[in-house]
Structures are given as structure tokens and as C-alpha cells.
Subunit: 324 residues, 2 copies
DNA sequence: CTGAAAGCGCTAACAC
DNA sequence: GTGTTAGCGCTTTCAG
């Protein structure tokens, strides 16, 4: 792998001049020509490692998400990517798999590779961002708040979404509205179920709410299992609020398997049902602006990378419910 | 950010000793203890950039895929990740977006960050891997062959899949079987449609095959548009082979919109229909072992990184069709 | 077993 | 406008 010195030698100039033409600093056209020719001949690729070491920063940002197989997060990733590319940054995607250990490892990599910044959807409420903070690296939390750390964040109003979902179901005439939500140490899971609880406490049939609440993983199987469980209760619910897209699919599978087709059984889901061949009918979906979350997070990050030092901001995006 | 020198000073040893402790080389227990204590106190994180510059290689591999929003590729990514993590490597995911320009940029980054290797699903037949090859970096192509470059590859038998798909449809009694495939410069798209053509030429009703073939992008909208077009033909088909999962969903949308429910209209799709709430009935799916493709590719890459220099291998995974 | 010192390839003062 | 040179932080001979 050719170095700047070899290029310099071939072009008959100093390494500094080569560096200058590679970086677009002013150099006389003749020399620039020679350098470019030499670089081409040697198939020269600048060594980013060396450059990063010297400059103490790179042009790549890390995006750490908890589930790369969830279309919500890939869509968010597209948003981040598009925005970052527009500013000349590349983004590398890291899958924490809802695991704080893996998350910590990726944070470590981002840090020690001197990446320009990181955007992350924390794997848990206890995610440790202190390494990022203490080294003053630009960070923004997305989808889930940065529990206990004072950094930029962009989320949606999950509690309001929970309220809207439950309200929609009660308005449709259902009486026993259950709730399937995510892990109890994940913010979105808590808030969404809290929204549901608030409404259910007021409008429910007075039965024990905790019996109608299920915490599970944010996956298809989790939703299916929880739904199956709820259906086999002595007094089963007649409707359910499901806290994410994947679990929504699982719940729907369980319902259909039991011969219950919405709106025969009430169903409200957070996030769009991905890749549905037909517009889901009889299902209330709380639309989550995934891509926009990504774009916004990237925008905030770019500002921080640019040197913005104002106090941490939290931006809350609107999520419209769309009953269908 | 603390350096090895500061740790050394605090521990009263040389930088070399600190380095040794951090890397697990033999050091007396007393010194090792002192070093670890100092490192902890200073919240020391080794600088990977410097290490990589010095060692000329890193412990991260790049995975470049053409569409991060396609569950087939995210599933493949999980396979790569799991296998790589098992060997102590981290993987960063790059989305080429079916764009050779972006792809080239990511290859460049992988190269100039001295990543240990790269696995990529080429954006096109003309993808330029020469930079990787000439620098002798470990590379393996996955899902799509490495057109014209002699490197390891892992694929499925796409032509056979096309044959199986078309055959299944004719066997079901359909007479005019059309085909919706991907971009004409993408290998999988070509091979899958070739498989179809071979069968259709033999068993079709003798009408012009090219009129029944559509090339489009590998996306939902592409599939939907192409299906709509086919349906509006003077002599529309009565069945269709669709070359990927996303287009399959689009095609299904168009069919349902037209009031045509499989198996009323024949449908065979490559790749599992993701996140389907119910097992698709009346649809033939050619199962693609996405995760396994990833695992296998990562395994080959790990071998190459380990120094294996045998001639380039191509491994072809089995893809079973499952009519349902 | 430990330390000194020479770079890895690049950039950025600082001279000229 | 261009060249010289001193590092960025780490690993790794090479001595001791």
C-alpha cells in the first residue's frame, strides 16, 4: 500500500505537498497535476488510520441500535445515513442486540476509533454512556431517552401514544383492554404501557390491570406468546395494545390462529406493520416516524460535531395514530 | 483521553510494560497489578487508531450490503455478526443502497481503516473490487458472485431456484407464467429469471416470453408496479415468478388490489415473505437461507484472515422450495 | 522480565 | 507556495 512518501518521491515534491493536494489546500496547478498523476500510478489510497491518529477525529459516525432485524430501526438507520452522507459523513451500523455488553463494546470501538460521534438507541435504562460523556464525544440518544445522562435526545411521546392507543380501543367499544409491552428496563416499553394503564384504570371494567399486562421481548415470538397467554386467561381480554411492530405481528398471528380477526378482537399497535401485503384493516396503528427520528438525531449530532455547545436538548416528534 | 504514557508514569513503569499488560504478554504480577490500577484510575481506553496504525490491521470487519431495509440482508447480517463475534471480531455494517458509488466509498473506508476483511453483496455485476484485491485484503462475496474477480463466494443456486419456482407454477396448472425480476446488472436477478425462462420456453403457451418478463428494482414498489403492468397486458399472465421477497410483497399487493388472491393467480416468490401475520397460503416460496449465507461467508473470511491462502472457493448453499 | 527507542502514515506548524 | 520536521499513541525489536 503506497504511502504519501512514495507519491512525493515519484512526483518530485515533499510529502506535505502531497498531503495538501489530497486535502484540497492551495497548491500550484503544475505540482498538483504531478502529484495526482503519481498518486494514480501508485494506486494510492490515503491511510485514514494515520490521518485519524494525527487529526484526532474521523469522518465516520456510529449508529448503535438494539435490533437490526426490526424494520423500525433500519428505517431509522436510513434517516441517519441520508442526513450524515449529506454532510460528508459515513455511518457504520452496530447491532447491540438489546445487550448492554455488546453495546458497551461498540461504544468502546467508536471511542477508540475516534469516530466523530455516536447516535444510539440505548439497549436499556441502565446503559452506560459515561465513557462517551467523560470524553466529551458528541452523542445523541434516539427513540429511547438517555437515562440519567444529560445529552441530546430525540424521541416520540410514548405515553401519549399509549393513551391514544388505549383510548381508540375503548372508543371502539371494547371493555377489557390488555397490554403487551417490551422489557421492563426499556423506556419505550414502560411509557407506552403507562399510557395504556392510565386510560384502562379510568375506563376499564375494574378488573386487575396487572393481570392484563405482559412484559416480553420486543420480538415476534414474544408478542405471539404473550397474546396466547392472555387469550387463555380465565377472563380473557377483548382487545389489546401492543407496544411495538414486531410484537404486533406476533399478537396478530396468535389471534388469527385462535380464529379472532380484528376488529372482532381489538388491536392497537405501535409502529407500522412492516411489509404488510394489504393495508391492515380493523387495526389501530400508532404511526412512528422512524426515518424522521433518524434524520433529526443525525442533524443534532452534526450540530454537536460542528462545535455547538448549547445545553442538551430533547426533541419530541409527533406520532399520529391512524385507525384503519 | 489518557495515554499509555500517563498510565506508565502513574504506575512507575515503562510504556512498553503497559502495552504488554494490555495485550496479555507476560509481565510480573506486581507490575501488572500496578498498571491495571493506574489504568483504572485514569479511565484509560487504548487508542485503537494508534494500535491499528502500528499493527497494520484491526479487529473489525466490514459487511457491505445493498439494502439495509430488506430483511433478507439483515438476517444475513445477523449470521455474519454471530460468527464474527465468536472469533472476537466486531462487524460494522455499511449500506451501499445498490449504488456502486456508495459501495466504492465504503470499500475505501474499509481499506483505509485497515479493517481485517470485508464481506460484500456486490451492488452490481460491475462492482469494482480491484482495490480490495490488489491490496490483498481478505474479501468474500455473498449472495451475489464476484463478477470477474477470483475471490471466495457463497451463494445459492439461483438458476435452479428459478426453475423450481416456474416448474411449481406450471405443475399447479398455470399456463402463462410471467416473471418479475431485479435490475439487469444484478446476478441474482439474471439467474433467477433465466431459470424461469428455461422452463417457460418449454412448458409455456408459446407466447413471447420477453413480454412476460419485467426488470425492476428489488423493492416493494417495483414489484407492485411491475405486477400492475403485467395485469394490464392485452393477454395477461395467470401466474408469476417473483425474484425477491420485497417485490413479492409488492406483487401480492397489486394482486389483492385487483381482486386476485393466490392460488387463484399463481405466485412463486424467492425468499421468505417477512413478518407475515399468517403463513402465506397458495404461495410457493423458494426459501433462501439468509442467516446461513452470512455464517458461511464469515467463516470463509475468518479463514482468510487467519492466513489461509488456498485458491478461491465458491460455496453454493441449498435452497429448498416450500409450496404452501 | 523490563526499558529504550524506532517507527506505522499522515498533518500542521514553522521556516524559507 | 513549498519543504522540513515533529509528533499523534501504540507496538515491537533489541538490549540489558
Amino acid at each position: 500500500m503506497a504511502t504519501i512518501y512514495e507519491v512525493a518521491a515519484l512526483a518530485g515534491v515533499s510529502p506535505a505537498t502531497v498531503s495538501r493536494v489530497m486535502n484540497g489546500t492551495k497548491v500550484s496547478p503544475e505540482l498538483a497535476g504531478l502529484v495526482r498523476k503519481a498518486a494514480r500510478e501508485l494506486d494510492f489510497t490515503p491511510n485514514r488510520t494515520a490521518r485519524t491518529l494525527r487529526r484526532q477525529n474521523s469522518e465516520v459516525i456510529a449508529l448503535i441500535i438494539p435490533d437490526i432485524e426490526n424494520p423500525f430501526f433500519t428505517s431509522l438507520a436510513r434517516g441517519v445515513e441520508d442526513r450524515a452522507q449529506a454532510s460528508g459523513y459515513s455511518v457504520v451500523l452496530c447491532n447491540s442486540d438489546e445487550d448492554m455488553g455488546k453495546e458497551a463494546r461498540y461504544i468502546d470501538i467508536a471511542l477508540s476509533e475516534h469516530m466523530a460521534g455516536v447516535i444510539l438507541a440505548p439497549a436499556s435504562d441502565h446503559s452506560d454512556l459515561s465513557a462517551l460523556i467523560s470524553r466529551k464525544r458528541p452523542v445523541v440518544a434516539v427513540d429511547r431517552g438517555p437515562h440519567g445522562f444529560s445529552i441530546d435526545a430525540v424521541t416520540v411521546d410514548n405515553r401519549a401514544g399509549g393513551v391514544a392507543a388505549a383510548t381508540a380501543l375503548f372508543d371502539q367499544g371494547f371493555l377489557r383492554v390488555a397490554c403487551i409491552t417490551g422489557p421492563s428496563d426499556v423506556e419505550t416499553a414502560q411509557l407506552r404501557s403507562e399510557g395504556w394503564r392510565e386510560v384502562a384504570a379510568r375506563r376499564g371494567d375494574g378488573s386487575d390491570l396487572e393481570a392484563l399486562l405482559r412484559h416480553t421481548n420486543y420480538r415476534v415470538e414474544g408478542g405471539r406468546a404473550a397474546m396466547t397467554e392472555l387469550l387463555s386467561l380465565p377472563e380473557p381480554p377483548d382487545a389489546v395494545v401492543v407496544a411495538n411492530n414486531l410484537m404486533g405481528i406476533g399478537a396478530l398471528q396468535a389471534l388469527l390462529a385462535a380464529g379472532l380477526t380484528p376488529p372482532q378482537f381489538g388491536l392497537a399497535v405501535f409502529g407500522d406493520l412492516p411489509f404488510s401485503p394489504l393495508a391492515p384493516s380493523g387495526i389501530t396503528v400508532i404511526h412512528l416516524p422512524a426515518r424522521q427520528l433518524g434524520v433529526t438525531a443525525a442533524t443534532l449530532l452534526m450540530e454537536r460535531i460542528g462545535g455547538d455547545t448549547q445545553p442538551a436538548r430533547t426533541v419530541v416528534l409527533r406520532n399520529e395514530s391512524a385507525a384503519t
